[in-house]
């Protein structure tokens, strides 16, 4: 067995397991936890396009989740447009806004971009909280939006009676975004993004317009992030600015990426696999006893990983996998 075959078999096993998981996990509560886990893995993978590969640190991505959720929901509630269409409109708006943030900041020190993403996200959130109606659009201020439950929803309505379809939608979205990232990272765009992120002057001398490539990555990342916003709106059927567009979500995405491994393909998934259950568990079991303890643990894990594994958990895990794989393939050849 060659290494390539082993990789493929393993990937197939993981994919099959993911598709088959609902056969075992039937409780809606646990299914919901899995859905959210994939949701976070998806968001982090989208973030990683700009935060990982392009070497900058956006800390306001929740605003794009919000743009996705609001766009598709307003279109559905007021104009009867299917969320599937609204999702793409939201993505397009998010991409444009991402480019607007990037235009002045990508030519400057990374800290500016980082701070500006935060200020922009918070600015939009505060404005949404202050606006009840924007022209013909009902935004509903701090109360957020309620997507009414339909009696007989069809697929076109992006609403389902059970959790199962949501599970498969987010799983497919996650697989698509992972495949897309894999493709990008092996293409010219991926090489150019990494080069521009690491040494912008050297990259420019090799013919790379670094700011333009970052803008492209930002647009892609924001577009994909907004798609998840629509998914969230249709899953929860209710959202409000503080919960959806606050800094907590933005930071959690960045934490997952950094703990998992920034700029790697598996990093966001590994990070989400570790942090999401930890987050749910500590929140449920510890926050009653000692409010805040779960966030202390969260912060400590972050600090420890950054000190001891600055490249995230993916690096040692893939080294381990390499060792095991070598053993297996060598044994296979010996036989």
């Amino acid at each position: 067995m060659s290494r390539k075959q082993l990789d493929r078999i393993l990937l197939a096993v993981v994919a099959l397991a993911a598709f088959g998981l609902p056969l075992v996990v039937t409780s809606p509560t646990y299914l919901q936890i899995l859905i959210l886990l994939f949701f976070y893995a998806y968001l982090t993978t989208a973030w990683n396009l700009v935060g990982g590969f392009a070497g900058v640190l956006p800390l306001g991505h929740s605003v794009f989740v919000g743009i996705g959720a609001y766009t598709s929901s307003i279109l559905t509630l007021q104009y009867g447009v299917s969320p599937w269409i609204g999702m793409l409109v939201g993505g397009a708006i998010a991409a444009v806004i991402g480019v607007i943030i990037g235009l002045p900041t990508f030519r400057m020190r990374g800290a500016y971009f980082c701070l500006c993403t935060i200020a922009f996200a918070e600015g939009i959130r505060v404005m949404v909280e202050n606006i009840d109606t924007l022209g013909p659009l009902k935004i509903n201020g701090p109360r957020g939006l309620l997507v009414p439950l339909l009696k007989d929803p069809t697929f076109w309505d992006y609403q389902f009676m059970s959790k199962l379809p949501y599970y498969y939608i987010i799983l497919v979205l996650l697989i698509l975004v992972l495949a897309f990232t894999w493709f990008i990272s092996r293409s010219k765009v991926g090489y150019y993004l990494a080069a521009g992120g690491e040494e912008p002057e050297a990259a420019a001398a090799l013919g790379i317009n670094v700011a333009n490539y970052k803008l492209f990555a930002m647009a892609l990342s924001c577009f994909l992030t907004a798609l998840a916003g629509t998914f969230y709106a249709q899953l929860m059927l209710y959202f409000y600015p503080k919960g959806l567009m606050g800094l907590d979500l933005s930071f959690e995405i960045a934490f997952i990426a950094l703990i998992g491994g920034r700029g790697t393909i598996a990093g966001p998934v590994i990070g989400a696999l570790l942090l999401r259950p930890l987050n749910e568990f500590t929140r449920i079991y510890l926050s009653d006893m000692l409010p805040g303890l779960h966030l202390v643990i969260f912060g400590l894990i972050l600090i420890l990983v950054m000190i001891y594994l600055p490249k995230g958990l993916t690096a040692p895990l893939s080294a381990l996998y390499d060792r095991l794989a070598r053993k297996i393939t060598v044994q296979g050849e010996a036989k």
Binding site: A111, G292, L300, I307, P310
Partner: protein
């Protein structure tokens, strides 16, 4: 009109507090090139330190100014030495240490939530001898604790600027901020300078904590209010600029206070962000920043 001027006066005094917070942030950024996301939390630590000191010993609030900042200097010094330095070293030659930014975020989470576990979420104030004192300036009323805070903020900024220019340590800080490789070659220990910068930034947060306590309430996430403003201020004033931090603080304080005369206070926050974004597009390097700041 009277009300607007009164609001402007109050805004300037509150703005000086924002500026004071931003001062520590800009100092740390200038030297280390790291946005310290834990800065608001350090302010919170300063406020709680002053709060408990005054509450338990009953000393005059401004006596705390002699005790709290030195304690916070030590705290900041070792925080950088133990938690942040290892990450810096791991990043090695990276031009801009973004991982370090994330570590400061971890510190923020830990500190804020430790405070939540220890002290609970309630808003606390401490009655001091000067809390409700004020004086009249013509037809305007000036609160004494706010005015003292204003004076202390200006004095701190001037003191810091002098320290950076006149003392050997200050010169080493500036040399490191200009070019850390060159400073290294001149025999300056980069990480010791970082410790000092972080310690000083934290001590300034301690000063801010002491002067805020007589008229502001303290709670575990109080830092976030100041954090977000301080971020905006340092970008407005130019990352790393001392006068920029103070001026940016005054601008934000004035806008916040004067606009709240005409509209709901939730809108003033939106306006601050809007102004911030306009400046970003018109003059992205801020009042005192350098143009292409690679």
């Amino acid at each position: 009109m009277t009300a607007v001027i009164q609001a402007a006066l109050n805004g300037a005094m509150m703005g000086a507090m924002y500026g004071l917070t931003a001062l520590g942030l800009t100092l740390i950024f200038g030297v280390m090139k790291v946005v310290n996301f834990a800065h608001g939390s350090l302010l919170m630590v300063g406020m709680f330190s002053a709060y408990w000191l005054i509450r338990l010993t009953g000393i005059h609030p401004y006596l705390a100014l002699v005790i709290v900042p030195p304690v916070l200097f030590v705290f900041g010094y070792y925080l950088q030495n133990v938690v942040i330095k290892p990450v810096f070293k791991a990043e090695g030659q990276v031009r801009e240490p973004l991982t370090v930014i994330i570590v400061t975020t971890g510190v923020w989470y830990v500190l804020d939530n430790l405070a939540l576990m220890l002290f609970g979420a309630e808003y606390r104030t401490v009655r001091t001898a000067i809390s409700n004192k004020s004086f009249a300036l013509g037809e305007f009323i000036i609160s004494i604790p706010k005015f003292s805070g204003f004076v202390v903020a200006i004095a701190t900024a001037i003191g810091l600027a002098l320290f950076m220019r006149k003392t050997k340590t200050g010169k080493a800080l500036r040399a490191t901020s200009l070019d850390r490789e060159a400073a290294n070659l001149m025999g300056i220990d980069q990480y010791r300078i970082y410790n000092i910068a972080f310690g000083l930034g934290t001590a300034i947060a301690g000063i801010a904590g002491c002067v805020l306590i007589p008229f502001y309430y303290v709670y575990p996430s109080v830092g976030v209010v100041f954090d977000i403003r301080a971020f905006i201020i340092v970008v407005l004033g130019g990352l790393g600029s001392i006068p920029g931090a103070l001026l940016g603080g005054l601008v934000i304080g004035l806008i916040e206070s004067v606009f709240s005369q005409f509209m709901a206070s939730t809108w003033t926050e939106a306006i601050i962000y809007a102004i911030f974004l306009i400046i970003l597009f018109v003059k992205p390097s801020g009042f005192f920043g350098h143009k292409q700041d690679w």
